[in-house]
């Protein structure tokens, strides 16, 4: 039997051993980052790294899941069977992206029920772009071209993030995303080749989505205090403003091919910088939407909650059926 002193000594020895293990783990972690290698779930990692990743990956997953809503809104009303099938395939991809990301987040020790809960109780954030509404068919074009386009711009560098499961999910996602942007571009292209009313519909939609799409990269660098640490951890590879610039530079020639005008009076080529200059964005709008006061925040979360709650009996019944099957197999064996 241990005396009190022995217990204290043991506890001290344990604490010391844990500290030594932590120090070794931290050294190893820093080596992995320095050599651009990957951190895997069973490796030691700083608490801040784990927490930041859980937040980033789960928010990303939530965005994919909520992101299905503005488009599913149009599946039944898409103008042809082909367009319905394409839109359905895209929305199905987004569901898959959500699942890949939730799985990646789970490897960090958060469970899926917790993430679902945070989403349907409005505690979790997701990309504020999905709080805008989709009143016209052209919005399916704008979402694909601008929203998926911005997402790709953001996601391609994330294929090389330091956390292995996240990087692997991003590789899979990026492979699937490229069709999303192209199908959106072609929706707009087809409208721009159509009647005056169709052209007008396309332009009006681009007018609404352009600025929110640019804001998807997040606030300007000087207002993005956590970016530096994330870049040091290799879980963010380029700054918000760099990615935004890269996106604008890609958009301008694409808009010319479409024949749409990007709604930005300040947009012009800057010979000196070798980039397009563009106008200031309305960040008060961004913060309003982020704070829950966008056009569709309430409906997005309540739809998600309804779907989750209405599906509860299916999940439970399937579980009960599987348990019963397993039980009767055990009965047969015995």
């Amino acid at each position: 039997m241990n005396t009190t002193t022995d217990v204290t000594t043991d506890a001290r020895a344990d604490a010391r051993a844990a500290q030594i293990a932590d120090e070794a783990g931290e050294r190893r972690f820093n080596e992995l980052l320095a050599s651009e290698s990957r951190v895997e779930p069973s490796d030691w990692m700083p608490e801040g790294y784990r927490k930041t990743l859980i937040r980033q990956i789960s928010q990303h997953g939530h965005s994919e899941i909520i992101g299905m809503q503005p488009e599913s809104n149009w599946i039944a009303r898409a103008p042809s069977l082909k367009r319905k099938a394409i839109l359905m395939a895209k929305v199905q991809d987004e569901a898959g992206h959500g699942l890949y990301l939730y799985s990646a987040a789970q490897t960090l020790g958060v469970d899926r029920e917790t993430m679902f809960d945070q989403l349907i109780t409005g505690k979790a954030k997701y990309s504020s772009i999905f709080n805008y509404t989709t009143p016209t068919w052209a919005d399916m074009g704008s979402i694909g071209w601008l929203v998926d386009g911005a997402a790709i711009c953001n996601q391609v560098p994330l294929c090389r993030v330091s956390y292995g499961p996240y990087g692997r999910a991003m590789v899979r996602i990026c492979k699937e995303e490229s069709f999303h942007q192209r199908q959106g571009f072609e929706i707009l292209l087809e409208l721009m080749r159509g009647t005056d009313a169709q052209k007008e519909m396309a332009q009006e939609s681009v007018n609404r989505w352009y600025a929110p799409a640019l804001m998807m990269f997040g606030p300007p660098d000087e207002d993005s205090p956590n970016s530096k640490q994330s870049m040091a951890w290799n879980i963010k590879r380029f700054s918000n403003d760099d990615l935004r610039q890269r996106f604008v530079d890609m958009l301008v020639p694409q808009a010319e091919i479409l024949g749409v005008t990007l709604p930005d009076a300040a947009l012009r080529w800057n010979e000196e910088r070798g980039h397009y200059d563009f106008g200031d964005l309305d960040w008060s709008e961004f913060h309003e939407v982020l704070a829950g006061r966008g056009p569709a925040n309430t409906i997005r979360v309540s739809r998600r909650r309804e779907a989750h709650e209405n599906g509860a009996w299916v999940r439970e019944a399937a579980r009960a059926y599987a348990d019963a099957q397993a039980e009767s197999r055990r009965g047969l064996v015995a």
Binding site: S42, D93, Q106, D111, E113, E176, A326
Partner: protein, 102 residues
Amino acid sequence: MTSPGDSGMRETWPLWEVFVRASRGLSHVHAGSLHAPDEIMAVRNARDLYTRRAEGVSVWVVRAAAITASDPDAKDSFFESPQGKEYRHATYYTESDAVPHL
């Protein structure tokens, strides 16, 4: 011993690891994971989640809890044995570099 990614009974459905064979003659390769109530649903979900673009001709699913992995804390000593044994690689034998078909 650990089972990668298993969260025990906290989830309504257990976690499964998915392996996909891209075409005949290739190995099944780990593609990712998913939740499903039983193996039949796991195989179906795996098809829907990991082979929407004809990525596979066959899928395996294994309960994450049934996988035994090497102890992550013991990795240095556990994988020590091949170290310093370069003679297990053909490249170790340089004298024969110039000899044809060897």
